[in-house]
């Protein structure tokens, strides 16, 4: 078993707000991330696929296919978008790095026709990242 990771970058804006909480509670919990005008990040996504090396090709998968899947399923949906307003799932779910990572797992896992999705790692900044293993 070997793990192959492909990295992709996208930029998006978001803000953290739970309509079920009061304005004061939202400010207390989310601090400056609660600014309704939103703010942006350059996200770095690392998608790791687990599989066996094909003895004929020496490869687990064709990296071009993985790159295209990330472009079609993730970047197309999220790159240069205001996540709360333009990505339907985040109309009702707060687009925290945690929730975005879980959402990306859901977008990718079922469409992967090679290997098995092992991990989604999403960096919000170089100092902060979330790992999701599907459970």
């Amino acid at each position: 078993m070997i793990h192959v990771t492909r990295r992709a970058e996208f930029s998006a804006s978001h803000y953290y707000h739970n309509p079920e909480l009061s304005a004061e509670e939202n400010r207390r919990i989310f601090g400056k991330c609660n600014n309704p005008h939103g703010h942006g990040h350059n996200y770095t996504l690392e998608v790791t696929v687990a599989g066996e090396v094909d003895p004929t090709t020496g490869m687990v998968l064709d990296l071009k296919d993985l790159k295209k899947l990330l472009e079609d399923e993730v970047l197309e949906l999220m790159d240069h978008k205001f996540l709360n307003k333009e990505v339907p799932v985040f109309a009702t779910k707060i687009p925290t790095t945690e929730n975005i990572a879980v959402e990306i797992w859901k977008l990718i896992a079922s469409k992967l026709s090679f290997g098995k999705l092992h991990r989604i790692r999403l960096y919000e900044t170089p100092d902060l990242f979330v790992d999701y293993y599907g459970e």
Binding site: M1, H3, T5, V53, G58
Partner: protein, 142 residues
Amino acid sequence: MVYLTRRYRFSAAHRLHNDALSAEENARIYGKCNNPHGHGHNYVLDVTVAGPIDPATGMVYDLARLDRAVQAEVIERFDETNLNLDVENFQTRVPTTENICMEIFKLLRPHVDGSEGSAGARLNRVRLEETSSNFIEYQSVG
């Protein structure tokens, strides 16, 4: 158990091509990596050793010993070479990042596992970055 990772770098040329396949199949599978003249990468190699901390030294593994093993087995063998033409390990195996990664694991393991002064340290993982956008990890099982 503590995990210690040391980073190394080497540069090499390669061509992805399998003689057992037709020219068309090679071109389809490997795309521009099948260019017969080859192309190069700056590889970044992370070697992870796992083990208990030796109470006498406060260390998991002697980094100088690891450096010597990587220098002798990996850097001298692979750095500034054409992997297909110059390295025996890839005469019959396509030098994909996957295969290079597994080969490095095989080359280094005997130097770490059970070596003198290892205090129970084991080679845990080899991680090889081909470009800043993709890397391969091969991990010891058990």
